[in-house]
Amino acid sequence: MRLVPPERHLLRARDLVDARYADRLGVADLARAAGLSRAHFSREFRRAFGESPHAYLLTRRLERAAALLRATDRPVTAICFTVGLRSLGSFTTSFTRAYGMTPTAYRAAFPPASQHARIPACVLRAHGRPQYRTFREAGRAPRP
């Protein structure tokens, strides 16, 4: 019996975000990866994963930015563009909301990358991604 749960198709969209977060990805691209119409896709993605495709994409970019801040000495502006964000101002705002400190302060708070060696990339990605936060939630304590 072949029974493919609908989430398996949605997972392709989530995998696409994880692989191509640096590109100009829109909801239409993600819906296509899942084989669903745009409106249906956003609703189903939220139902399966508990957050909107947009929130997942943004927090994946922030997670990648955080990893680059820890592991490299590249300038914050370059990192912002590298992860697919195009406004330094909104990057700083989103990052601060997610991690509770500015990108520069975050970088200063962590030791060099060599101490994190041998942790598989999937573990880093899954556990380093911040909670999505809206402006309204900005006053609450961020996840450590």
Binding site: E7, L11, D18, A19, A71, A113, P120, A121, C122
Partner: protein, 141 residues
């Protein structure tokens, strides 16, 4: 003590068998259906270079082994990508990547340099995550 078998859930054993033998190029080790166990199918595969370790491809059973609601939860968890995790190593990840990609394996990460080596990732048809890594020698402090 040694690990001889490790199991992953699969949505469909025939589809899984085609994937692991046809696309990954692993060996079929055992394919036995047991009528006395309600038709339970013991299906194992493994890489030719590692005869002492087999991966068991388990179908998700229904009642009375597993109640329908729990079976649905497992299917859902797997389809969302939080089922099994297997870490594979290879001496040449770039070559393995090209070969497997040409056979239609669904890579989620192309080979990239990491502090620990060259790393890539793919999924099986059920959503189980595999990493394929070429480990770098790291001096132990």
């Amino acid at each position: 003590m040694k690990i001889s078998f490790a199991g992953v859930w699969v949505h469909d054993q025939d589809e899984a068998l085609a994937f692991y033998t046809g696309k990954l190029g692993w060996e079929l080790r055992a394919d036995v259906t047991l009528p006395e166990l309600g038709g339970y199918r013991w299906l194992t595969v493994g890489p030719a270079d590692q005869p002492e370790l087999s991966l068991v491809l388990n179908a998700i059973p229904g009642p009375p082994v597993l109640d329908a609601a729990t079976a649905d939860q497992i299917r859902s968890v797997m389809a969302k990508g939080w089922g099994g995790n297997v870490l594979l190593t290879s001496d040449d990840v770039h070559a393995a990547y090209e070969e497997l990609k040409a056979r239609g394996v669904e890579f989620t990460e192309a080979p990239e340099e990491r502090p620990y080596g060259i790393d890539s990732a793919f999924r099986d048809p059920s959503g189980n995550q595999f990493r394929l890594t070429q480990l770098r020698e790291i001096a132990v402090a």
